[in-house]
Symmetry: C2
DNA sequence: ACCGAAAACTGAGGATAGCTCGCATTATGG
DNA sequence: CCATAATGCGAGCTATCCTCAGTTTTCGGT
């Protein structure tokens, strides 16, 4: 369904695929998903419509591919943050700050692409599932850290999942629609402080 | 764009519109937005394709209309919960439980529809703005209650907004993709306990 | 350098889904 | 009971997604 129908093997075709994705990102962002036609994407990318369909089985696959790129980056950033925790073994405030910082980086790194994907991508059920999987993965990592610190209450796994989901939503809200009169840094600090309190309960 | 092209005035046409929306909700939910055709929606609703386009200018309008319905219900439920607080003046755990319960009610009422809308609704700026406005409204009500209780830290308004955003995301996650091995009630209790701790800090 | 094979590219056009429009049917209210 | 408005209809127009048969470019071996 969303798997590339053919893998680009030569340099030429890799550039073609990159040009198609770049054109798709621009047009989806400017006109929205429905109003963008695959023929226009091909035109803007400077390739024929046939070439587009050599690498993408259908229109949804364009969006899926853009999202996969972004999600892969998310996995990388989160894994990096978790590795840092494994090395530095921070206390609870440090752990929470690390999580908040990593999530914030995902939103501020490429805000335009992130917003496009958040606005348009969820139309594909497959991507929702993928997002949830990443959530669970991050939650598992956080839960391990909570257990190390002896925090997280009766069910550290559940607490970690709730924290990941909550932080994600709060940071997104702060970036998309920042509360008036507060700096971005102040919002991040508030989120971190709040979760430090929420998670600071001894494990059973 | 998303406004109905014609308002149903007679009882007959109101039933037609209701049947179309019901059919759209079912088919979108079962097969997804892209895979659902407007002709099939009309067919399942038992009306002609022409009638559908008398009341909905385009396919997106079907989804938008479903979202408007759901948002209106959200406003009603949240206002009701806030009224209850104004009357009963609960303590912090009671306040948080009330909020969590109200949000949960929004999700459990028609879980399939809610999931459909959250996942697939076109994030038209208009709808996003409506959603944020509802969020702010709920946050304002919660902030007033926090001030009454002398809780919420330095910035009760910000804390309330973060709480609303967080609870929304967590309840949604629990309904859409429930953590295995935990009952729904256990998840709600965990969310409430967590936010009670997070908000239980004296106002400055 | 040359050649055969594989990869990449092309774009007219088939299939299909969104949407229109002229007309038929049903309701309203004077 | 009739004039008028509201509602319903569905064949078909239009636009979009996507295919496919054929051409061009690149690659690896000799």
């Amino acid at each position: 369904m969303s798997t590339p129908r053919k893998r680009p093997r030569q340099q030429r075709s890799k550039e073609t695929v990159a040009a198609i994705l770049e054109a798709a990102a621009q047009l989806f962002g400017r006109h929205g998903y429905t109003a963008t036609t695959t023929n226009r994407v091909a035109e803007r990318a400077g390739v024929s419509i046939g070439s587009l369909y050599q690498y993408f089985p259908n229109k949804d696959a364009l969006l899926t591919a853009l999202a996969e790129e972004h999600l892969a980056e998310a996995v990388q950033v989160l894994d990096q943050a978790l590795d840092a925790c494994a090395r530095e073994r921070p206390d609870l405030p440090g752990l929470v700050s690390g999580l908040v910082g990593a999530v914030a980086e995902l939103h501020t790194g490429r805000p335009r692409l992130h917003r496009l994907l958040f606005d348009q991508a969820p139309r594909v059920p497959e991507l929702v599932a993928r997002l949830r999987a990443i959530e669970r993965r991050a939650a598992a990592g956080l839960a391990a850290e909570l257990r190390r610190l002896g925090r997280g209450g009766d069910d550290p796994e559940l607490a970690a999942l709730l924290a990941v989901q909550g932080v994600e939503a709060q940071i997104h809200g702060a970036v998309v629609d920042p509360p008036p009169g507060r700096s971005a840094a102040a919002c991040l600090a508030a989120v971190a402080a709040l979760w430090t309190r929420a998670l600071d309960v001894p494990a059973r």
